[in-house]
Amino acid sequence: MTSGVGAPRRARISARTLRTDRWWLPPLLTNLGLLTFVVYAGARSFMGKWYWVEEYGYLTPFYSPCLSESCLPGSSHFGTPLPELPGWIPLGFVALPFLLGFRLTCYYYRKAYYRSVWQSPPACAVAEPHGSYSGETRLPLIVQNAHRYFFYVALVVSVINTYDAALSFTHGVGLGSLVLTTNVILLWGYTLSCHSCRHIAGGRLKHFSKHPVRYRAWTLISKLNVRHMQLAWTTLATLMLTDLYVMLVASGAISDLRFF
């Protein structure tokens, strides 16, 4: 090793790290968590069925908005401006790439997958396996700077998901309505706690005192921002659970628990 911790004049220690704790566990768990979501979301997005419960107005977030003529009757809350799609295109293809982009460029997820997937570094003070490193200074990673644009689209999708959840209450109240609503509240939490949102709301200012409303907004978002990591993982879980619930009800595997 001639570079990094093995560079000339540094302490001659051959070990990659002298850490004695289980530093490999968090990146392993992160990989497992991300893999679970990618496999589940990929399978469900391409499945093309069991995404809409007409009787109760439940639409899974993976298929929202459903804008093509291939969508089941009633599931297109905003019309069908798009023609029928071939089976290999997910019905939620309008929003999914942006939501994926929002999470891929998210400051928290960047930390998570740079550490776990790319091992750069796998943990603090553990030497990374790469010979060179240019960070986010060039393509493709310089695209991470577009996070705010994905955030804008994510805001619109959150409004659409809110509409979907609200629409389910026009059919009465069931466990599915509460599941959709909980998911939407947490999605708003994740979206609004975003670092770009914090910056746009007021972080970019030099004089908070001249902009009291934006300062207040920045203060509130800063409080949410502290929980951005927790919200990132919670919403991955609630997205899968919400979709799973809708899938099970739509397929007839379970019946919805109705309150009203």
């Binding site: 001659r12 002298l18 704790d21 740079y114 570094p121 003070a125 700077n145 910056h199 970019r204 001249k210």
Partner: protein
């Protein structure tokens, strides 16, 4: 209540060195620096260690304990079990001088490269009043004791010696953020942060925040806000257009 602890201390210089085993007495309430001092007094009078305040405020006694960058004076022996082997090495991102003492002059060079606080021209003393909300973001960064643990753990330079030329490291990117967020600073820090001080190298893996003994949220409150300001300036055509049309530069 005292016991004998097993220590491995790295000893050597910038050419050679190895871990040496020691069995040293530990008493209740002691920190690792106390043990290093006892080692000097009883076993190794020539052991080199840099220290000063013993209160976590001078930033002198930075080292790596069981592979983790820490202050020797703030690491309590009670955090280890009695049969645990405790390994103490110098900071591994910087050239070693001798034993636990490293040459941290890289950091002083980087500090000198940052233009100092620049108030608007013609502003006299007492002509400007700042409100607390305007300065408290910068005040968090003033807690820095310059222990350079964040510099040591940052993989951009720890694992890639060649990046030292173009990357200032989290401590000094935070210094730029401190000045950039200061309501009275009029210098253009944003473009320099990216082009001259290597902000783009940071991949926000938060190790700097994890090791900071002052608990400064370096990544969330300094590095990411600076990255967002760089995005405003260099990568966001809408903000750029808005700043030209509405003169929002000095907001």
């Amino acid at each position: 209540m005292s016991y004998k602890a097993k220590f491995k201390i790295w000893r050597g210089d910038d050419q050679t060195g190895e871990l040496h085993d020691y069995l040293i007495e530990v008493n209740e309430g002691e920190v690792v620096l106390d043990i290093i001092h006892r080692l000097q007094a009883t076993h190794a009078p020539d052991l080199a260690v840099r220290w000063n305040c013993k209160a976590g405020k001078c930033g002198s006694c930075s080292a790596e304990i069981n592979g983790r960058p820490k202050l020797l004076c703030m690491t309590r022996m009670s955090t280890f079990t009695e049969d645990e082997v405790i390994t103490v090495t110098p900071l591994r991102a910087f050239p070693v001088i001798r034993d636990l003492v490293t040459d941290v002059s890289f950091n002083y060079k980087k500090a000198r490269e940052i233009p100092s606080f620049t108030p608007p021209p013609g502003l006299g003393p007492g002509e400007y009043r700042m409100k607390q909300v305007d300065v408290e973001r910068s005040q968090e960064f003033r807690k820095c004791i310059e222990c350079f643990l964040c510099q040591d753990t940052c993989h951009v330079i720890r694992d890639h010696e060649e990046n030292k030329e173009s990357f200032a490291g989290p401590r000094f990117l935070m210094r730029i953020a401190e000045l950039e967020m200061h309501p009275l600073d009029s210098a253009d820090r944003v473009r320099e942060a990216q082009d001259e001080h290597g902000l783009g190298y940071c991949n926000i893996t938060k190790c700097c925040t994890e090791v900071c003994p002052e608990g400064i949220k370096i990544t969330d409150n300094a590095l990411i806000p600076m990255k967002e300001r760089v995005a405003d300036r260099k990568y966001d055509p809408i903000v750029w257009l808005g700043s030209k049309l509405f003169k929002r530069e000095k907001a």
